[in-house]
């Protein structure tokens, strides 16, 4: 069956008709000339390869009260994603082939995006001994990204071994960089605001020290290293230096670290409590610059759903994390496109091509060209929308953008030629 996406602008450039044949792109032809069994009429919106998230918490198994693979992947599709990496900190932890295959299976059953399970680096995320990384890699889930995210692999020897071991199957360790002793009881970024609010500080150095150590370890053992959610100016500097030395390191930034600062903690509203914490305006500027110049390779959501009771409480008692899938692209438009720091082509690299490459997801993040899989999203960059937590597809409501007007709406998403989102609503 042939499907036509009429009048869409690949990378925001010249508008065309995109003809899909089954699960692949058949041709890009001048507007009005595409012929097919089904025609989706657009009006010149931006066409991007389907977004790929390297950092998603889907919570299933174990915390289905916060999110399920079904609700989380619906949120992903609405955000323009066609593939997400499901983090390992579930209950049970995704540290065996059995658990990662279960996640894979539930993702298939939902059908909204490709769910790529992330395997835990250490058994139970305890940081004591390696999980069966090879078994997860060889399983049906074909795990390539390993992370104890939520916790840092802080033992340097264990980290070295993990970096070395995953080379055997082209894996990558995605480090949650947080020196545990420096962040005991930490509640927010350590600085002027934490001093004023009397909340225990999470110093930038606790992130930077681990990143510095790990890039040197990666260099020493010749391994591939990925760093989750960079949040500080110093972290960007270290990555920039590491790349200049030829170290095989990649890094991500979350939408919230591109937009929000630690001043929001002054509300004591835990919707702004996240790990790593919101930092200063100088840090925000540094991660934007790092994302613009390629020091930071990707935007990853760190979508972290929490049920209301875990946020409707005092700050110290609240869970860390915020929703991200349905707002990520709008934040990138606001912080990077509107300021002219990134073109749409560069956004496609940072939100689709690069994360797919890091995660070794071959079907996604490919050029908008004939013969490629039709994993696509169509964005109306000018459309303004009011963020209503109750209207989000996620099972949880902990978005920091409630009542905020954002720009950029995902109009349609296609997973291997099948529409998962049409007219801004779920199509499945």
């Amino acid at each position: 069956m042939k499907t036509v996406l009429r009048n869409v602008a690949p990378y925001g450039e010249q508008a065309v008709d995109v003809v899909l044949d089954g699960d692949r792109i058949a041709a890009l032809v001048p507007v009005g000339t595409g012929v097919g069994d089904l025609v989706h009429q657009f009006s010149g919106e931006v066409l991007l390869p389907g977004l790929v998230d390297l950092h998603t918490h889907l919570r299933e198994p174990g915390r289905e009260d916060a999110e399920t693979i079904l609700t989380g992947t619906r949120a992903a599709a609405l955000g323009g994603y066609t593939a997400v990496h499901a983090m390992a900190n579930t209950d049970p932890v995704a540290d065996t082939a059995g658990v990662v295959e279960q996640v894979l299976r539930l993702g298939h059953a939902a059908g909204y995006v490709d769910v790529r399970p992330v395997g835990a680096v250490t058994v139970g995320l305890k940081g004591e001994r390696l999980a069966e990384l090879g078994a997860m890699a060889d399983s049906a889930a074909q795990v390539r990204v390993f992370s104890d995210d939520g916790k840092c692999v802080s033992d340097p020897l264990l980290m070295r071994r993990a970096l070395e071991y995953v080379k055997a199957f082209d894996g990558v360790v995605a480090q949650h960089a947080q020196e545990p002793r420096l962040t005991e009881g930490a509640q927010m970024n350590e600085g002027v605001v934490s001093a004023r609010l009397g909340l225990a500080g999470w110093p930038a150095v606790a992130e930077e020290a681990i990143i510095a150590r790990d890039v040197l370890l990666a260099e020493h053992v010749g391994s591939r290293l990925h760093l989750c959610h960079l949040s500080t100016e110093g972290s960007v500097d270290i990555i920039r230096w590491a790349k200049s030395r030829g170290i095989n390191v990649t890094a991500e930034v979350t939408p919230h670290h591109l937009l929000l600062t630690d001043e929001l903690a002054a509300t004591y509203d835990p919707v702004y409590k996240v790990n790593p914490p919101l930092r200063t305006a100088a840090d925000v500027e540094a991660v934007r610059a790092g994302l613009a110049d390629g020091t930071i390779d990707i935007v990853a959501t760190d979508h972290a759903p929490h049920p209301t009771e875990d946020k409707d409480c005092e700050w110290a008692a609240a869970a860390m994390g915020m929703l991200g899938l349905e707002t990520a692209l709008s934040v990138v438009i606001e912080t990077m496109i509107d300021s002219g720091r990134l073109t749409w082509r560069q956004v496609a690299e940072r939100m689709s091509t690069n994360p797919a490459r890091i995660g070794r997801v071959t079907d996604h993040g490919n050029p908008l060209a004939a013969g490629e899989y039709a994993n696509l999203c169509v964005v109306d960059p000018g459309a303004a929308w009011l963020v209503d937590p109750a209207a989000l597809a996620s099972r949880s409501r902990n978005t920091p953008y409630a009542a905020r007007t954002m720009r950029g709406r995902v109009v349609a998403t296609f997973l291997r030629g099948t529409a998962t989102v049409l007219n801004g609503a779920l199509a499945l």
Partner: protein, 315 residues
């Protein structure tokens, strides 16, 4: 201003109104009838998530002297210890018709949450939240300072106040720095660098690591409690070393100007941050701080609850 959450919210005029009101109310404690009818029929809940008998009693005495009904809600042995959330407790108090909630909580910002989350309509008075603030303590300290240094009148312009000790974990220090600065005083914080917060350089005060210099020309020295367990977290090497470098003993006290007073918010670690003979000396106004606490808390409750709207701020 419906709530008292932070001394940062008080203007100089607000602070002086509270101090002047407290001064009038202080007379009540000298009378045979230590009671005013002002808050008759109003309900004040003391919601204490941390044990602090002295602060609770002070608020209770203040509320009772204004004829309010007082309900003490201690977290221990209550539904809170069975895991009830702050929100559910707040909803309960709201249903009970609490006009004011005096809250002491281990979590910084808990009073702010209580006041601003829509759980409750009551006036919220912060009786100490985590390592954030303790505004009524700062007000009673300012009251005590004004009485001794300014004859109970006006502000504290030009007064030199040195606050010594565990500033990092001290809600008393935060509230005092802000309030005393608002009242025109020059505040110096003195502590080992480990017990000063990163970011303290933005506070409206001076910072010193050397006690002898920091107190040399002080009009008042306020010693903060230092908990011994800080030693185990390597904030300082030993109680002995802390006491030698940052404790106020008789020898150090003898170097102070003759008019200088010594304060402590209590409870004291005698022999640690303050020597027993200093605490009991004529310069010490520590016991007086306690009685001033009742007057100041009466003033705060009267001004927040006595009228149709708060008498603090909003002009």
């Amino acid at each position: 201003m419906q709530h008292l959450l932070s001394t940062a919210d008080l203007t100089r005029d607000d602070a002086l109104l509270i101090l002047d009101t407290a001064a009038e109310l202080a007379q009540i404690s000298d009378r045979p009838m230590k009671k005013l009818p002002t808050l008759r029929g109003r309900t004040v809940v003391n919601l204490f998530y941390e044990d602090s008998t002295r602060t609770r009693i002070s608020f209770e005495a203040a509320a009772k002297r204004l004829s309010a009904d007082v309900i003490n809600f201690s977290a221990k042995g209550s539904s809170v210890s069975k895991g009830e959330s702050l929100k559910d407790t707040a909803l309960t108090l709201q249903a009970m018709g609490a006009d004011a909630v005096v809250i002491r909580h281990a979590a910084s910002g808990a009073p702010h949450r209580l006041a601003h989350s829509g759980w409750i309509e009551s006036t919220v008075i912060n009786a100490g939240d985590g390592t954030h603030e303790h505004p009524t303590q700062a007000l009673l300290d300012a009251y005590t300072l004004r009485k001794h240094l300014r004859d109970g009148d006006g502000d504290l312009a030009g007064a030199r106040i040195t606050i010594v000790g565990d500033v990092l974990h001290s809600r008393v220090a935060r509230s005092n720095v802000l309030l005393l600065n608002t009242l025109g005083a020059h505040v110096t914080l003195c502590a080992p660098p480990t017990l000063l917060p990163v970011g303290v350089e933005e506070w409206p005060c001076a910072v010193s690591y050397a006690l002898d210099q920091a107190i040399a020309d002080a009009d008042a020295v306020m010693m903060l409690r230092v908990q011994l367990e800080r030693m185990n977290a390597s904030f300082f090497p030993s109680a002995h070393e802390y006491s030698r470098r940052y404790g106020l003993d008789a020898q150090r006290m003898s170097t102070l100007p003759t008019h200088t007073i010594v304060m402590h918010p209590g409870p004291m670690n005698r022999g640690m941050e303050i020597a027993a003979d200093v605490a009991d000396s004529k310069r010490s106004v520590i016991v007086e701080q306690v009685s001033n606490g009742v007057s100041v808390r009466m003033a705060v409750m009267y001004l927040l609850l006595g009228g149709a709207e708060s008498g603090i701020g909003g002009n």
